[in-house]
């Protein structure tokens, strides 16, 4: 009888469908019109078209969620773990913080990065580093960013990445950027320091012709 009861139970359990399975899983997003996007960004019509085609191909639903974003970004860095940096990047692109990137966010971000002025680009970078978006970069935030960048290198590097390499790097950064030594870097300090550094200025122009 015990056996019978057990049998009946297991059979019954297999057949109970859950209503949650029937949720509609298709959420779709249509972007704003081409004209509006042209007004908001510095891309030409043809560029927007080709960007959207690529975007829609990868994300047919029109939205990129964080997991998809992480997996796409990780494909470019096979040797390391790009997920943490991808998380920060996602937050930098997801301007309205709703958990997914729409095409507008994507293209506005790209417009700043590729066609914006140097100040705009530096603003974007500051926004990336400022994890909680409070207008100040603290050492902890910078350390998190730095660690995520070093994570992307993976293990097989020369020389071996030491445990304190990120924090050393952060110290160097703060030494350079934090002018009034108050432990945080504000946007003005950041922009000012970067504008004085020739290397940084040159590298900002590096990706002008990506699209």
């Amino acid at each position: 009888t015990v056996f019978v009861v057990w049998l009946v139970n297991t059979r019954g359990r297999q057949r109970a469908p859950s209503d949650s399975d029937l949720e509609l899983s298709t959420v779709r997003h249509q972007p704003e019109g081409l004209d509006q996007l042209q007004a908001q960004t510095k891309f030409t019509r043809k560029e927007l078209q080709s960007l959207y085609r690529g975007f829609k191909n990868e994300c047919p639903s029109g939205l990129v969620d964080e997991e998809t974003f992480k997996s796409i970004y990780s494909q470019f860095f096979p040797q390391g773990d790009a997920s943490t940096y991808a998380h920060f990047l996602f937050n930098a692109f997801d301007i309205d913080r709703n958990g997914s990137i729409r095409f507008e966010d994507f293209v506005i971000g790209l417009s700043v990065l590729l066609r914006g002025s140097v100040t705009e680009k530096l603003n974007w970078a500051f926004n990336l580093y400022d994890i909680n978006k409070d207008g100040y970069i603290t050492k902890e935030e910078m350390l998190a960013i730095m660690k995520s960048i070093y994570d992307m290198m993976g293990r097989y590097t020369y020389p071996c990445v030491r445990d304190d390499a990120p924090s050393e790097h952060v110290d160097k950064f703060f030494q350079k950027m934090d002018k009034n030594r108050d432990g945080v870097v504000t946007i003005e300090e950041f922009i000012e320091t970067c504008q004085k550094d020739e290397n940084i200025m040159n590298s900002m122009q590096l990706f002008e012709n990506v699209i």
Binding site: L113, K121, Y129, M153, T157, C160, K172, L206
Partner: protein, 652 residues
């Protein structure tokens, strides 16, 4: 680079601006995008059916036919389209692969035709998406098996030169190969039958003799039966020995089920020969004769069905075991209940709980012999409950077992398939990853050669090298180089990394070189590696200052480190490696963990595979002393996962 994310490369490159403010070194120059033509539609005419797609769609997979310049061979100048004389139906799924990044296998296609199409268009079947991969592999396997069956029939006809032993083994395993084998097969079968029949007839009462007792035939015709038995056992022994001789792996043969059955079948006879007619052991001797019935199992060599049955029982064993267990539980429960219920009545047969087991089993299986029946009312009530539940308990499991069995059988097959596919899939992913990583390292290597060639002024070689990489790849590699510059570390090969770890762990002798502190070296490599500065680096005593192979002669001044790391290092360890700068406070983020000091007078491991995973300690640095002499007591040997004996150094 991985499939389908080529569209996101511009985004990843743009996002790299986030590294610029934190980088300490200048970034490398971006590759020039010479082909700045607008995206255009390409017409692909496949046997009359026209497909159109963007050029960039096809360019996503540059190592296929459509993505590379190979398609230029099919270009038709007059109609300005690419004409392929192939199956348009199969082409649909191939073109969809370019569009979506996933290759699907259309189920109505013949597997070999589809394979041919894939080969023609340069697409490897392993890319087939998970949704269709199982089906594809199943069909492919079926096809292969069918081909193999045909092949095997052909193979039997042609006889390669097998030696005598192999011929014998083949004769034993496949009796249809030769007439002699067939004869042998039938003869053994006949003798097995004879032996079994003899065993049975032995016990039949053979009619009366002078005394009134009915004697079994065995005792009446002792000699005759003994002769038959001897003959059978001799045949079986000879057969067993011949099989043992012919077996390719004797140990494996001796462990196999069939040979154990053989042994068990003939052993009683020999034991019986050895033992005398002692009264004490004759009881045991009689028991042994029971084992002679195992000879009937020898028929399973002759019957495929028996073998399959045995195999299915074996595979269903856990289900059967559980069933038995639950039945035992039920039996114990009912037996206990019946015992206590019947305890009161006089002259009850239920003398103990184990005695009640018999009643419970007989009742539950609805046999009902009637040799034990309950007499009390409570006993009868529980007895009826027992028999009713027995009906359910016995009737239900049979279909459950059958369906269980078939489900598990198929599940097992699918689980094995999935496991094999998973392994294959992981291997694919790993290969793809390492492939792209290797491609990057290779291109770095090429890039350095490029820079050199620039300096030495040979333009033609430079052009050759540049052309060999697609634009997409070169952009991806540029991105990775920017990351390197940001962190001031470099990507290296796994093997090189291990080598580096070992050498940096090898910090014994105070170094004679004073030159470079470790925390300076990243900066040195970073800026020195740009190749733009021509100052010879003070590299003389850097950790990897092996004498560089001569074909890199002019490079030695510049970025000697780079070339080192790009080469798979030869492990001809030189003494110069020992002259490392010690830095006890350094913690190394290598697999070797925290090794602070090391002792070098080691017993050397016998062989050091350069790409052994999990190397822990320093490799051998001097001619190996005989292994039996451990040097310092603090040293333990650990075997790495690659199986080489590596010495792990413990900190003193």
């Amino acid at each position: 680079m991985a499939t389908g994310v080529a569209a996101w490369l511009p985004f990843a490159r743009a996002a790299a601006i986030g590294w610029m403010p934190v980088a300490n070194c200048p970034m490398p120059i971006a590759p020039r995008d010479n082909s700045r033509k607008q995206d255009e539609l390409i017409i692909l005419n496949v046997s009359g059916r026209r497909f159109q797609t963007w050029r960039t769609t096809l360019d996503r997979y540059p190592d296929t036919l459509l993505g590379s310049s190979e398609k230029d061979f099919f270009y038709n100048e007059e109609t300005k389209e690419y004409f392929f004389d192939r199956d348009p139906d199969a082409f649909r799924s191939i073109l969809n692969f370019y569009r979506t990044g996933k290759l699907h296998y259309p189920r109505h296609e013949c597997i070999s035709a589809y394979d041919e199409e894939l080969t023609f268009f340069g697409i490897i079947p392993e890319i087939i998406g998970d949704c269709c991969y199982e089906e594809y592999k199943d069909r492919k396997r079926e096809n292969l098996e069918r081909l193999q069956d045909d092949q095997e029939e052909n193979k039997d006809l042609k006889q390669p030169n097998l030696n005598f032993r192999e011929t014998m083994w083949r004769a034993f395993e496949n009796p249809h190969t030769s007439t002699l084998a067939l004869v042998f097969y039938y003869v053994t079968g006949f003798f097995i039958a004879i032996s079994v029949i003899t065993n049975v007839v032995e016990t039949v009462p053979c009619g009366t003799t002078t005394n009134q007792k009915d004697m079994p035939c065995g005792e009446r015709y002792t000699v005759a039966f003994f002769c038959i038995d001897t003959a059978c056992v001799m045949i079986f022994t000879v057969e067993y020995l011949l099989r043992l001789f012919a077996a390719p792996s004797r140990y494996r043969f001796m462990r196999s089920v069939m040979s154990i059955i053989d042994v068990v079948a003939i052993l009683p006879y020999y034991i019986g020969l050895v033992m005398t007619n002692n009264e004490d052991v004759s009881g045991a001797f009689v028991t042994l004769r029971v084992f002679r019935v195992f000879r009937i199992f020898k028929f399973s060599r002759h019957s495929q069905g028996l073998r399959i049955l045995g195999y299915t029982l074996k595979s269903c064993a856990s289900e059967l075991g559980f069933l038995l267990f639950s039945l035992t539980m039920a039996i114990i429960i009912f037996a206990t209940v019946m015992f206590y219920a019947e305890k009161g009545s006089s002259s009850s047969k239920f003398t103990s709980i184990p005695a009640s087991f018999w009643y419970t089993i007989v009742t539950m299986t609805t046999l009902g012999y009637g040799d034990m029946v309950p007499k009390t009312i409570a006993g009868k009530i529980f007895g009826s409950i027992c028999s009713l539940s027995g009906v359910l308990v016995i009737a239900l499991p049979v279909p459950v077992i059958v369906s269980n069995f078939s489900r598990i059988y198929h599940q097992n097959q699918r689980a094995d398939k999935r496991r094999a596919q998973k392994k294959a899939r992981l291997a694919r992913i790993r290969i793809a990853k390492s492939g792209s990583a290797n491609a990057f390292l290779q291109s770095k290597h090429n890039g350095l050669l490029n820079e050199l060639l620039e300096l030495t002024g040979s333009e033609e070689d430079e052009q050759k090298l540049i052309k060999s990489i697609s634009l997409l790849k070169s952009q991806h590699h540029h991105l990775l180089r920017c990351l390197e510059k940001t962190t001031a570390h470099e990507f290296v090969d796994e093997q090189v990394y291990e080598q580096n770890c070992l050498e940096t762990a090898l910090q014994t002798y105070p170094s004679h070189s004073s030159s470079i502190a470790s925390h300076d070296s990243p900066a040195v490599t970073c800026c020195g590696a740009s190749g733009k500065k021509n100052t010879p680096l003070p590299n003389a005593n850097l950790p990897l200052a092996n004498p560089v192979p001569s074909h890199r002669g002019p490079l030695q001044e510049l970025s000697a480190l780079h070339i080192q790391s790009a080469d798979p290092l030869s492990h001809t360890s030189s003494r110069s490696n020992l002259n490392l700068r010690t830095d006890e406070s350094k913690r190394i983020n290598c697999k070797s963990g925290r090794i602070t000091t090391a002792i070098i007078s080691l017993p050397t491991p016998p062989a050091l595979a350069p790409d052994a995973d999990g190397l822990h300690g320093p490799p051998q640095r001097r001619p190996p002393p005989p292994l039996g002499h451990p040097a310092a007591p603090s040293i333990q040997t650990t075997t790495s996962s690659a199986g080489t004996n590596i010495v792990k150094v413990s900190a003193l």
